[in-house]
Symmetry: D2
């Protein structure tokens, strides 16, 4: 992975901590809307993680692809990723 490993790990651990918190809220039978807000906050954090990973991928793996064949492979992966993101 080209992205800053420490930063990504820290964000993922924060997201995991948030999920633990949400599981506790569910157990405690907290109000639906509060739980929904926390779930959306975790989704937003994972979205930032994904953006970090893909930006670093573009700047690293894609930009430095040396051969036409390697670039084609990278581009097809990006097209597939885009299809998922824009589905």
């Amino acid at each position: 992975m080209m992205a800053d490993e420490k930063k990504i790990s820290r964000m993922l651990k924060t997201a995991r901590g948030q999920l633990d918190g949400i599981l506790k809220m569910v157990e405690e039978d907290r109000y639906c809307v509060e739980i929904s807000q926390q779930v959306m906050a975790t989704e937003a954090l994972l979205n930032r993680v994904n953006r970090e990973i893909l930006s670093a991928h573009l700047r690293g793996c894609v930009q430095q692809a040396a051969t036409a064949e390697d670039r084609e492979k990278k581009v097809e992966e990006l097209v597939a990723t885009l299809d998922k993101i824009l589905k």
Copy 2:
């Protein structure tokens, strides 16, 4: 919370397990695109969790709001939730 507690807890625990898997992939320096795919899979799962919670909220809390005042409170919460979802 109005949603099925067992189902929601199970989905959240699956998401937490996926995050553990992603953290391991990051440690093992796996390929960016594979990590990104797993992050998107977890986001999709949390999106389903949120949908379950909000559907049950609508069918429970909102539908059964007995007074006009209570309905107004619920509606304003839904407008705020919608603003976040459609931002």
Copy 3:
């Protein structure tokens, strides 16, 4: 429709004007990234239109649903709408 008709019509006409502009950019063979940006700007505008319509719907039709039967119908429509938005 419960939303401000004039405001919604004005926003939709702006979106239509943007689409005319994008069609012209396509004809003129403009750069992909510029066209993509304009398409995303129009999507963002339509997203705001949808938010306006649904907020007014919640505050009007849903809040004022007089009978339990009417509320149930409105809630099921909202669940279906939410399923589309959070797909």
Copy 4:
């Protein structure tokens, strides 16, 4: 633009026709939920247009970028586009 001009123009014209239909629905004071559904259908169509444009851009402009400098420029544009899509 690298994408198929005829296909993109046809999709954009369909979207424009949908907006005309939505404007008429607004004038005729049709039901909020029906109008919202049509707005979301047009957003989904524009999303497909954007996907077509960006896929063709990746396969054309990006893959064929000959120099390291040109690749860097393309990659920075893609990072900016991704930031908008994943915001």
